[in-house]
C-alpha cells in the first residue's frame, strides 16, 4: 500500500476524500473523550480533580514520542528507498510533533505546580522531553535552512535518525534515574496499573489525538504537494516562449515570479 500511495497525485486525490471522514471522527472521539475525562471519570484519591490534566498531558506525551518515531521512520524510508512521499511526510509531521511536545510540557508544568509545588524541575523525564522539543525545533530549522529543497530534506533525515537515541532515554528515564516524575503506569511489564475507569477515557483521548494527527498530517502533506505543483507550474510558465504582440501584458502578469 505504501508503494501504491507513492504517486503524489493519487495521494492528493485519496486524502481529499479521507480528510473529512478522519476529521469528523477525530472531532467526535475528542468530544466524547473530553466529556468523559472532565465529567464522568472519577477524581483521584490523592490528587482530587487535578488529575484530569492527565487526560490531556499523557496522550500529548504519547503523541510527541510517536510522531518523532514517525519522522525518524519516514526519514529512513526516504533515505533508503527514496520513496517520493517519505520526505514530505517527515517534514509535515515535525511541527505537529513539536506542538504536541509543547502541549505536554505546558500541561505538565500546570499539573506540577499544584502537585509538586514547582513549575519546573530538572529531573530526567522533563529534561529529556525538553531535549526532544529542541530536537524537533532543530529539525524544522535544518530542513528550512537550505535554498535547495531536497538537500534540506536529506540533511533533516540524518538529524532525525541521530535523535532517535533520545526516545528510549525518555521512556526509561523514570526507571534509570531517581525522578520526581511518576513511573510508567500504562505501558509496562505486567500490564497497566491504572484503574479501568481512568484508563478508558485516557485511551479514548489517545485515539482522538492520533486521529487529529492523521488529519493534520494529511492536510499539511496536501498543502506541501500543492505548493510543489504551484512552483513547478510557475517555473514552466516562466520558461514559456515569448507571446505574440497584443497579448503581452496579460501573459506577463501571470508569468511574473514573486
Amino acid at each position: 500500500m505504501i508503494n501504491w500511495l507513492a504517486n503524489p497525485a493519487r495521494f492528493v486525490r485519496l486524502s481529499a476524500k479521507a480528510v473529512p471522514w478522519c476529521g469528523w471522527t477525530a472531532a467526535v472521539v475528542l468530544a466524547i473523550g473530553l466529556f468523559w475525562s472532565l465529567f464522568v471519570a472519577p477524581p483521584d484519591y490523592q490528587q482530587g480533580d487535578t488529575v484530569r490534566i492527565m487526560y490531556v498531558h499523557v496522550p500529548a506525551a504519547w503523541m510527541a514520542l510517536s510522531v518523532y518515531l514517525f519522522v525518524a521512520v519516514a526519514s529512513a524510508v526516504g533515505l533508503v528507498w527514496r520513496h517520493p512521499l517519505a520526505e514530505v511526510a517527515a517534514r509535515a509531521a515535525a511541527p505537529i510533533g513539536a506542538a504536541f511536545t509543547f502541549i505536554c510540557l505546558a500541561t505538565g508544568s500546570l499539573w506540577g505546580r499544584p502537585m509538586w509545588g514547582a513549575w519546573w524541575v530538572w529531573d530526567a523525564r522533563l529534561t529529556s522531553v525538553l531535549i526532544l522539543f529542541f530536537l524537533y525545533l532543530g529539525y524544522i530549522a535544518l530542513v528550512n535552512a537550505f535554498d535547495d529543497h531536497s538537500r534540506g530534506g536529506r540533511a533533516g533525515a540524518v538529524l532525525a535518525l541521530v535523535g532517535v537515541v533520545n526516545l528510549p532515554i525518555i521512556k526509561f528515564s523514570v526507571d534509570w534515574w531517581n525522578t520526581l516524575h511518576q513511573p510508567a503506569s500504562v505501558m509496562r511489564v505486567g500490564g497497566p496499573r491504572i484503574d479501568i475507569s481512568m484508563l478508558a477515557p485516557l485511551l479514548i483521548m489517545a485515539l482522538g489525538f492520533t486521529l487529529l494527527f492523521v488529519v493534520l498530517l494529511m492536510l499539511r502533506m496536501r498543502t506541501a504537494l500543492n505548493e510543489r505543483r504551484a512552483m513547478a507550474l510557475r517555473l514552466n510558465a516562466g520558461a514559456a516562449p515569448a507571446p505574440r504582440p497584443g497579448r503581452e501584458r496579460a501573459v506577463s502578469a501571470h508569468t511574473a515570479v514573486p
Partner: protein, 221 residues
C-alpha cells in the same frame, strides 16, 4: 593508515598555522568564564558552587564556535570532493578531522582550565577532577559537533543552525562532566560520572563518524 595520519597532520598544521583558531577559542573561553563573577557577584562560596558548571558551559560554547571551520573550508574549495573520492573511507576522513580539531581546540581548552578554575576558587581536588572530566569530555564534543557541522554544510545562517542542532546533543557530556566535579567536591567520588563520560565518548566515537559521513555524502551529492 598513512592516509589517515597524513590527513590528520594536514588538518592540524592548517589549524595551527592559521593560528587564529586556537587563540580565538581560548580567548572566548577565558572571557566567558571571567564574565560570570561580574554577573553573579564575587563571593567565593557561590563561585565555588557554580564554578565547575560555568567552566564546562564556557568550554562547550567555545568548542561550538570553532565547529563551522571543520568542513566548511574544504567544502568550499572542493577538497571534500577529492577526499570523498580517495581510498580513505569517508568515516575515517571525519575521524581524522575530528582528531585534528580536538588537538587544536579541545586539548588547549583542557590545558588552560586549571588556571580558570583558580579564578572561580575551586579547591585542588576539584581542579584535578575538572581537568580529567574535560580531557575525557572534549573529544565527545568534537565528535558530536562534527555531525552538526556536516549537516549544516552550505546552509543559510550556518552558525545558528549549527548551534541549534548541536547544543541539545551536547547536554549529556555537560551533565556528566559538571556532575563529576560536583560529586568530587561533595566527597562522593567522581568515578561513576567519569566512567559514564568515557562511555559517552566511546559511543560518540562509534556512531558519530557514520552520521557525519552520511551527512557529508548528502552535501556532496
Amino acid at each position: 593508515m598513512a592516509a589517515f595520519l597524513g590527513l590528520f597532520r594536514r588538518d592540524l598544521s592548517l589549524a595551527l598555522r592559521q593560528g587564529g583558531d586556537t587563540g580565538l577559542v581560548l580567548g572566548f573561553f577565558v572571557l566567558a568564564v571571567v564574565l560570570f563573577p561580574f554577573g553573579v557577584g564575587p563571593e567565593p562560596e557561590m563561585l565555588q558552587r557554580i564554578g565547575a558548571g560555568v567552566i564546562w558551559v564556557a568550554a562547550l560554547l567555545a568548542a561550538l564556535l570553532s565547529l563551522d571551520r571543520l568542513f566548511e573550508a574544504d567544502y568550499q574549495d572542493g577538497e571534500l570532493d577529492l577526499l570523498a573520492l580517495s581510498s580513505l573511507p569517508l568515516e575515517l576522513v571525519v575521524l581524522a578531522k575530528c582528531a585534528a580539531h580536538w588537538v587544536a581546540t579541545g586539548l588547549p581548552l583542557t590545558l588552560i582550565s586549571p588556571f580558570l578554575a583558580l579564578l572561580v576558587d575551586l579547591d585542588a581536588g576539584s581542579i584535578a577532577t575538572l581537568f580529567t572530566s574535560l580531557l575525557v569530555g572534549t573529544p565527545a564534543l568534537s565528535l558530536i559537533g562534527s555531525v552538526g557541522a556536516a549537516l549544516s554544510l552550505g546552509a543559510r545562517r550556518q552558525g545558528i543552525v549549527l548551534s541549534l542542532l548541536v547544543l541539545p546533543l551536547y547536554i549529556p557530556p555537560l551533565i556528566f562532566g559538571a556532575g563529576a566535579v560536583e560529586a568530587s567536591a561533595a566527597g562522593s567520588g567522581a568515578r561513576a560520572y567519569l566512567l559514564i563520560l568515557c562511555a559517552v565518548n566511546l559511543a560518540a566515537l562509534a556512531l558519530c563518524p557514520w552520521a557525519s559521513a552520511a551527512a557529508l555524502r548528502q552535501a556532496l551529492e
